[in-house]
Each structure stands twice: as C-alpha cells, then as structure tokens.
C-alpha cells in the first residue's frame, strides 16, 4: 500500500532543470533507497517533498492527500520526518533539549511537556545516545551527530522518514551500525523510510527497493540486484568514475 508518492515532480531554478518529471512511490513499511551521482537532484527531491521548495509542476500525494507546496512545518506535523545532509543540531542546547523540541512540535502538537520529554528520552534511547543526553552537540562525534539527527526526526512520531545521507562521513564500522539502526527503528516504530545515499553498498545492503536519479531524471527503479545491473545506471556511475579518473 502506497503511503507517499510523487507524480511527475519537476523543479526548475532560474533556467536550470533540477528535477524532470520524477515519479516515485513509497509503500508502507518499505525502505526505499535513492541513489545518484552528486548533483543528480537527490536533495532537491527531498526538499520538494518536505516543503522546502515548491515544485514547478507535479504533485506529492501523502495518505491520499495532495501536500505539494505545503510549508515544512505543516508537512512534518502530518507525520513526515527528515534529517539533513548537513546536520543541523541546536548547538546551544543539550541533546535532550534538542530532541524535546521536536517532540513538542511534532505530530501531536498539543502534547504536554513532561510527555514530550518522555518521548524525547525514548527517541534518544532508540538511537543509542542515552548516556550523552545532557551533552551539547559540540561534544559529539560525527556519528553521534547523525544519530542525534535521527533521534530528532523520530521524536516527531512520524510515519515516514526521509534520511538525507545519514551515513556520509562515517567509517565502515559506523556505517554498519547506522544501517542496523535504520532497520531497527523501522521495525520498532513501524516506519516507512526513504533514504538518500551515494554510497552504493549501503543502499544495496538495506533497501527493499532502489531508485536512481541522474541529471534530475529517474533512470531506474526496482530491486537492488536488478538496478545494479541496469545499463543506464552503470553508465551514469561509470561515466562519473571515468570523469574522476580524467580529472585526477
């Protein structure tokens, strides 16, 4: 069953076409991986879905409702959480306060503060940061900051989670742990997850399905092992590697 889908999403900046008629769908309980070379429009797509950009044309349908162009705060209150590629912790607040803020404003906007703190604590527990909940983000490692980002997103009690490169900058061991974390929170919280990554291996490891963007267009969508063999995908990635070799 589809929980969120995009229909022919197009986004144009000045003359530049960042997304061209991209369709996608995410089913309930599914983990959908979005890959593509740098500049292929992955973050732009997430920004359109979560309301940071208005689509030039096309629609985003969430639970049978057109949410395209709604403000981000409305979208997040409907049960859509997201993390940012560049982590955005509140530097002057403790981990607990960071996450409490999200819980206070999430899907249950009228929640009293003690309840919000309780939810915040359980979110922090879920990502494994409970022994650092009184720390300020300045004292956390990159891996921990990425976890904090996820804790903030799940404290909204979302139904759908968008993870924008939550594993970029992590070492292989941390990446492994992060992948397990994603699987675990899906299980525990009954989430549907849409995640962006440009490391192929991660995507292949945990995705139920994978879609590929290249130059703002969707060039493949299917089971991970099928997508890797797709000719267009190979070309897009090899093309990039070829260019890198040439530049090096």
């Amino acid at each position: 069953m589809k929980i969120i889908e995009g229909r022919k999403i197009t986004k144009r900046f000045m003359g530049l076409l960042a997304l061209e008629e991209v369709d996608f769908e995410l089913n309930k309980g599914e983990i959908l991986g979005l890959i593509g070379p740098n500049g292929s429009g992955k973050t732009t797509l997430i920004n359109v879905i979560t309301g940071f950009y208005k689509p030039t044309s096309g629609k985003v349908i969430y639970k049978n409702r057109d949410i395209s162009g709604l403000a981000p705060y409305k979208i997040s209150r409907l049960g859509i959480g997201r993390t940012f590629q560049i982590v955005k912790p509140f530097m002057e607040l403790s981990v607990l306060e960071n996450v409490t803020t999200a819980a206070l404003f999430g899907k249950n906007i009228a929640m009293p503060k003690p309840k919000a703190i309780q939810i915040a604590n359980s979110s922090i527990e879920a990502v494994g940061l409970h022994d650092k909940s009184s720390y300020k983000p300045g004292a956390l490692s990159i891996a921990e900051l990425k976890k904090l980002e996820i804790a903030k997103a799940i404290a909204l009690s979302p139904d759908v989670l968008f993870l924008d490169e939550s594993m970029a900058g992590l070492n292989p061991k941390e990446t492994e742990a992060a992948m397990e974390l994603v699987l675990k929170i899906r299980e525990q919280r009954n989430l549907s997850i849409f995640f962006v990554e440009h490391v192929m291996k991660v995507v292949m490891g945990i995705s139920d399905r994978v879609m590929v963007l290249h130059h703002g267009r969707k060039i493949a969508d299917g089971k991970p092992n099928e997508v890797v063999k797709d000719e267009n995908v190979i070309k897009a990635y090899l093309g990039k590697r070829y260019k890198e070799q040439k530049n090096a």
């Binding site: 979560t50 309301g51 940071f52 403000a71 981000p72 705060y73 997040s76 209150r77 959480g81 997201r82 940012f84 955005k88 912790p89 509140f90 530097m91 002057e92 607040l93 306060e97 409490t100 803020t101 999200a102 206070l104 404003f105 999430g106 899907k107 906007i109 503060k113 903030k152 997103a153 909204l156």
Partner: protein, 319 residues
C-alpha cells in the same frame, strides 16, 4: 547558576528594590530613585531586545520604534483623550505589539544583515513620519502633565520589569520558548520539526514590542516632554543592544545586569570624568564586541576566569 538559586537571588533583589524607597531606615535619596527608574526603563528595553535579538536570533537595530511609539501613544492618550496613565500605558503596550506584528510580517522574512538594516530603516521612517504628521505635534514635540510623585514611575517600572521577567521565564520553559530558541539555532531544522517559524518569530517580536512600548510610555510621562529626535534616536536601539550583549544576550538576567552596570558607569563617568564619558558608549561597544561578545554571564559561568578567556575570544574570530 542553577534555577533555584537564580530565583532566590532574583527574589531578594526584587524585595530590596521594592521596599527601598519607602522604608524609613534605608529609604533612598531622590537621586538614587531617579537613577534606578532610568535603570529599570533601560532594563525593560534591553530585555525586550533580548527576546528578539538574544533568544530568537533576529538582531533588531530599530527596536527604538517601539519605545518611540509607546511614548507617543501614551502621551497622545493622556493629552488628547485624558485617559489615565496606567490605561494609556496598556494601550501603548498593545500598540507596540500590534506594530511589531505589522512590520514583522515583511521584515522577519529577512535574514542577517538585511533584517538588521531593515529595522534600522523602519526606525528612521517612523521618526520622519512622526515629524510630519500634525497630530503628533510634528517636530515641536508634546508636553505631558507633571506627575505628583516620582514613586509612581519607580513602581510602574519595577512592576513592568518584574512582570516581564516572570512572563519571559514562563514563556521560555513552554512550547513557545522551545520554538523561539529553535528558530535562533537553525531555522530549517526548526521548520522540519513542525515549528511554524513565521508565527514564532512574530510572537517573539510582538512580546519585544509590547514591553519596549511600556518602557517608552513610562519614559514619556516621567520626562514630561517628548519629541521625535529624542524618542526615535537610533542610539537608543544601540544602547538596548549593548546592555543586553554586555550582560549576556540569550539569558534572562543578562540584560538587567547589563543595564544596571552600564547605567552606573555612565552616570559615574558623567559626573566625575566628563571627557571619558564622551567616549564611554562607543568604547564600551567596541571592547565588548571584541573581548566579551557573549557577555558577563558567560564570563562568570566559566570554571576559571582569566586573561585566557579574552585572548581566546580574540583568536577565535579573526582571519
């Protein structure tokens, strides 16, 4: 400082300040009463700036508009409509809040430099408008009735300041407080947390305008005469800012501490070292921005206070 001790210190100060002018034994001179009224009026303004500049992260350089507006609304309501002082003050407060909402809707969309300069421009526009509309007395100014006792101003400003601090404490521990601080820390992240950042910013600006206008109203009646260059003087905006920053922007007590110390130093220098007083505000701003950008409260919350703190600040922000 933890919360309990903060409250106790605050309570003691409030009680002492409250009874000081009327207690036979410790009753204070007219000179000190006058000084403290000035401190409290500025403390309200510095705290008002703190709400939008310190907590919300939108450094207004034109908060003097609320002060001027409050002064003019109070004056006109008392002179033209013969409404009592306290009711006039309440009218002024709501006028300040309403004006904050009206200008906030367009300007709070701006960020950084642009917001700061837009607010500076609005201050100048209000001064120019007030100079040119007939019912404000244009450039001539307005004379208010003379009050019977300065204790009225003493207690009005004390109650306004205390009410503001308590109100702010309550706000900050609630949902709006979290929203306000989230906006300051990262607006995009705040939006994705379900925070309607537009409304949060407007509310913060309205609170700022509400109390700053009260300060303007008290000032107007206290000084008995107002004219546009005095009550829309951009230097007043800067004084609010430096008091809040010097004490500690983004802390509740910082602006009050800042207002007290700066007013004290300013008064002291103006009576004893006139020449030095001339350079006081400019010099203080320059030194604070370089050595103490996080204010006294941050300095005193360090484990060890020494030269290193200042040296660290200098090294941190240069190229």
């Amino acid at each position: 400082m933890n919360k309990a001790s903060e409250f106790i210190i605050l309570g003691i100060i409030t009680v002492v300040v409250a009874i000081a002018p009327v207690m036979p034994v410790i009753h204070i001179s007219a000179f000190i009463t006058r000084f403290l009224i000035g401190v409290m009026i500025y403390a309200i303004m510095a705290e008002g700036w703190n709400v939008i500049g310190g907590y919300t992260g939108y450094p207004s350089f034109g908060n003097v508009v609320f002060f001027g507006l409050g002064a003019y609304v109070t004056a006109l309501s008392m002179i033209d409509f013969h409404i009592g002082f306290l009711i006039s003050l309440i009218l002024a407060a709501f006028a300040g809040a309403l004006f904050a909402v009206i200008i906030g809707i367009p300007v709070l969309r701006l960020k950084g430099h642009y917001f700061a300069i837009a607010t500076l421009g609005i201050g100048e526009i209000m001064m120019a408008i007030t100079l040119n509309v007939p019912f404000t007395g244009e450039g001539v100014g307005l004379s208010l009735p003379i009050a019977s006792s300065s204790l009225l101003f003493y207690y009005t400003s004390l109650i306004a300041l205390a009410a503001f601090i308590i109100f702010l404490k309550l706000i900050l521990s609630g949902r709006l407080g979290y929203g306000i601080i989230a906006v300051r820390e990262d607006e995009d992240a705040a939006r994705m947390m379900g925070i309607n950042t537009v409304i949060v910013k407007i509310k913060a600006f309205a609170i700022s305008g509400f109390f700053t206008a009260i300060a303007g109203g008290i000032y107007a009646y206290w000084s008995t005469f107002i004219d546009p260059p005095t009550v829309y003087d951009p230097i007043i905006s800067v004084k609010m800012i430096i008091m809040a920053v010097f004490g500690g922007a983004g802390t509740i007590l910082g602006p009050v501490v800042g207002a007290f110390i700066i007013m004290f130093l300013s008064d002291f220098l103006s009576t004893h070292f006139t020449l030095l007083h001339t350079f006081f505000f400019g010099g203080l701003i320059v030194l604070t921005a370089i050595f103490l950008p996080k204010g006294l409260i941050d300095l005193f919350s360090q484990k060890k206070i020494g030269w290193n703190y200042f040296i660290k600040n200098i090294k941190k922000y240069r190229v």
